[in-house]
Each structure stands twice: as C-alpha cells, then as structure tokens.
C-alpha cells in the first residue's frame, strides 16, 4: 500500500507534535524516512522508492524506538515531554487495520448511526466497522480496549489490505 500524500502530511504533523525523533516506514519497495535534527525542529520528510520487484505479503510498519543519538540525552528529553504529549503520541496509539481489500462502511446501513465515533470507548469485541468485498461482509472488531482517537478513512472508501482504519488509545 502506497502512502497517500494526505497520510504523509498527517504523519509529519503527528511526529512534529510528538517526541519521536525518527520515523521509518517501509512497504512494497517504498520507504518513508523522517528525521528531526532534535526534538523541537520541524521534520523534513524523505520519500524514496527502491526497486524491489517481489511485493511483500505482510505489511510491516516500524517505528524505531532508538534514534541515532546519545541514548542518555534522548531519554531525558523524552521523559520531560511525555506528560503533555501523551494525547498525540503516535507511539502509544494502536492502529486497527483492514484485514482485506474492500469498501469501508462506518454504519450497518445508510440510515443508521456509525458504529463508533471519535472519543468512543471501545472494548475488544466492539464492532467498529464493516469491510465489504464482492458482497462478503466482514464485521471488524476492535481487538483492543481503548478510546477511538481518529478515524482515518471515509464511509464508502475503498481500503487496501493492511490499511489503518482507526487510531486507538489503548487502555
């Protein structure tokens, strides 16, 4: 799955507001590498595509924990920033991803309210959406206890296998 420009923009924003210093995302020969010179300067993003003919089957998303900096200094910065940054710290957010290619439905029918909205508390067996492909309907359960922080896709949107649908703050 290629990251869309809005998604990259969103990631930059989130990283900008967080204490993350470096972010690497690699999938299907596409690599996104973002790095902050230090915790306070806005990030610069580098997107490069490397030739890699065989597509990987598994979606891998890595948020490296250890930046290439003297460990002790970084630790200190992180600890200072953590309390106020918690709400937008992507490191702590869990992604609910799509198990298959299909259409994202936020509600059981066009007239019903959505299964969940931002701010809702969810349990692991809470149904958060339906993914439909070729008239097969898949009720997606949260698989985690927490709170919906962001809904990343629109009702009726085609989503890819492994695409993040929701950001959840785990409890």
């Amino acid at each position: 799955m290629m990251l869309k420009i809005q998604e990259i923009r969103e990631i930059i924003k989130l990283i900008d507001q967080s204490s993350i210093e470096e972010f690497v995302y690699e999938h299907d020969g596409t690599k996104v590498h973002m790095k902050k010179p230090n915790g306070n300067v806005p990030v610069e993003a580098v997107v490069k595509t490397v030739v890699e003919p065989a597509p990987k089957v598994v979606v891998k998303e890595e948020v490296p924990q250890a930046p290439a900096k003297p460990a002790s200094a970084v630790q200190e910065v992180k600890q200072e920033e953590k309390p106020k940054q918690e709400a937008v710290n992507v490191e702590n957010l869990h992604k609910i991803t799509s198990p298959m290619v299909g259409t994202f439905y936020a509600a059981p029918s066009p007239d019903s309210p959505p299964y969940v909205k931002v701010g809702d508390k969810i349990k692991s067996d809470t149904v958060v959406c339906i993914i439909e492909a070729m008239k097969l309907f898949n009720e997606i359960e949260a698989e985690i206890n927490g709170e919906i922080v962001e809904i990343l896709v629109q009702n009726g949107q085609l989503v890819e296998y492994g695409q993040p649908l929701f950001l959840v703050k785990p409890e």
């Binding site: 290619v101 019903s112 492909a133 070729m134 097969l136 009726g156």
Partner: protein, 325 residues
C-alpha cells in the same frame, strides 16, 4: 435435531431410492423390533410422508410432504459434511442470526440452519428480504475454510455457481449470474446471497453463507414494489418445485465446488462462474457509495474482482458495487 434412529431410517430410505426395504432389514439395521419399526413408519406418515407397505416386500416412500424439516432434507442428501447437521425451525427472525450464534458456540463446518418463515429476513446493508412461509428456501450455512480472510470474498462467487448449478439440475432452467452473486431468471432476481465473515486478522473463524431462494411463490405473492424485479423458480418453470430436493442439490454442488476450491484455488470456479455470467462484455453501471461508473464489463480477475473499462478507456477494478445492466 432428531434421534439417531430417525436419521438411520431416513438414510436407509435414501439409499433405497424409492425401492422397497423389508421390515426385517429395517429392524436389523435400526436394532429394534418389527413393532418398533411399524411405530417409526407411522410417525413418518403423521408428518406427511406417504409410505407404501406391501407384504413380503416391505416399505417404500412414495412421496414426501412439501416441507423442509430435517426429515425431508436428510432423505436423499448425498453430501459428506455440508448439511449433515441441520437446525430446522418453523419460524425464525433470520437464519443468519441463528447461524452466527451457532458458529460462535462452535458449530461444525457444514451446519445448516433452515426455516419455513423468516420474520426479519436480512439482505445487504440491513435491507429486508421478503421471505414468507412455505414458498422459498431460507437457509444459512456455516463454513470454516482454512484460507486467509482476504480470500474469502471468492466464496460468494462460488456459492452463486453452486446454486445456479443446483437450479439447473433440479428444474432444467438455466439461470444467469450478475456480478458478483445475484441469481437472475429473465432479468429478475430469484436468489439472493448474503455472506458474512468472522475472522481474526490472520485466521477465519467462520464464513456464514445466507441464501434466500424464491421457489414456489406465485406472482401475486410478491409485494407490488418488487413484482417487476423479483421472480420465483415456479413462475419461470410453470410448476412447483420440490424445495427439499433443491436444498439437497445446493448442498451437494456447494460441497463439490468447495472441495475443488480448497484443492485447486479459484481458477476452476472462475471458469464456471463465467459460464453463467450475464453482464460480461456488456455496458453496465456500477454504483458505489462514492459515485457511479459506467462502462464495459471486461471480465473478472483471478480473484473475482470485476474489471470495468470506462468510456475514456480507463480500467477500474470493482471490489464492491451494485451493478445494473
């Protein structure tokens, strides 16, 4: 669910295929007295079976009632697993709902839920499915396929092929399939399939295939608003169809195709599907929540995804849409 003795008795009559079975043979196989055999036969008669009893020859089944309880479905069922566990209920809200519950409780693959009447038959997106008593086949089948979740949508095309084959076998009518799995006769819908998946990201728990077949409806029995878009097999054929026989054939075709699919993948199913496909090569409209695309249906991919070429020559891969020709 019925007793083992009843199951054995019906299996015996299934094997006999309309021929006589001696009372002695029945009592030997069931392991009960001749008097007990007579009692079991009387029970079947009470339930509407017509049985002929001839001295020295024994018993044979002349006709089965126009019912679809476990009795009628089991008598003549040729499958190994699909439909071998039957949950029949006279009246349900929706067979799909019950199948979900059974699947959750660990029901075996092949478990079939059948009802005479659905009070809240469901279609897609919570649309209702008109399912009055005694006219149709309303059933839900539980499968537990050892395939990754992202492949399961192919099972909806497989189900459509199985039902089309079964209709052809039982009625001689040749139905059309509209992508992905609507079954039509002369452009009117006679079968709807609703498939639902329960899965972890990497493992399928169950696939529940809900099937609604309009079998013996008269035209007047359809509500006016769907009379022009819905039909039944009896309307098309001009005579009543034995529903239990149709269920048995659907189970048999499903089992055969499902085995083939697990062994050889989607390719053989794709070829069969294309044989029934109505919209391929034609100009169609694909309606999605996000808009409408009009163009030529060029075929389906090896995954079952619809290939649509619009008027600018751009190719669209359609994973979900309502298709109209």
């Amino acid at each position: 669910m019925q007793s083992d003795t009843r199951k054995k008795l019906l299996d015996l009559f299934s094997e006999a295929n309309g021929d006589f079975i001696s009372g002695q043979k029945i009592s030997d196989i069931l392991g009960c007295s001749r008097t007990a055999v007579w009692k079991h036969i009387e029970d079947l008669r009470k339930e509407g079976f017509e049985l002929e009893a001839v001295r020295r020859l024994g018993y044979r089944i002349v006709s089965t009632p126009d019912k679809i309880t476990e009795n009628e479905i089991r008598l003549g069922l040729k499958t190994n697993t699909l439909g071998q566990t039957i949950h029949f209920q006279e009246e349900v809200t929706s067979t799909q709902k019950i199948a979900h519950q059974l699947a959750h409780e660990g029901a075996k693959e092949g478990t079939l839920v059948v009802a005479e009447l659905q009070t809240a038959g469901r279609g897609r997106m919570d649309r209702t499915w008109f399912s009055p008593k005694g006219t149709g086949v309303w059933m839900s089948l539980i499968l537990r396929p050892p395939i990754p979740p992202q492949k399961t949508p192919q099972l909806t095309l497989l189900s459509a092929v199985a039902i089309a084959q079964a209709i052809q076998e039982v009625t001689g009518l040749v139905p059309d399939i509209k992508w992905p799995n609507d079954i039509l006769m002369n452009g009117k819908k006679c079968v709807g399939i609703l498939t639902e998946l329960q899965a972890d990201p990497d493992r399928v728990h169950s696939v529940i295939i809900g099937m609604g077949l309009n079998v013996n409806h008269e035209r007047e029995q359809f509500p006016e608003e769907i009379r022009d878009i819905a039909t039944s097999l009896a309307i098309e054929k001009g005579e009543k169809i034995n529903r239990a026989r149709l269920i048995q054939e659907v189970m048999l075709k499903l089992e055969t195709l499902y085995r083939q699919y697990l062994q050889h993948g989607f390719m053989p199913i794709k070829l069969l599907w294309e044989g029934y496909a109505i919209s391929i090569g034609k100009e169609i409209t694909a309606r999605t929540l996000n808009g409408t695309i009009r163009g030529w249906a060029r075929g389906i991919t090896e995954e079952g995804v619809l290939i649509l070429e619009d008027h600018d020559g751009a190719i669209h891969y359609i994973h979900s849409a309502d298709i109209s020709v």
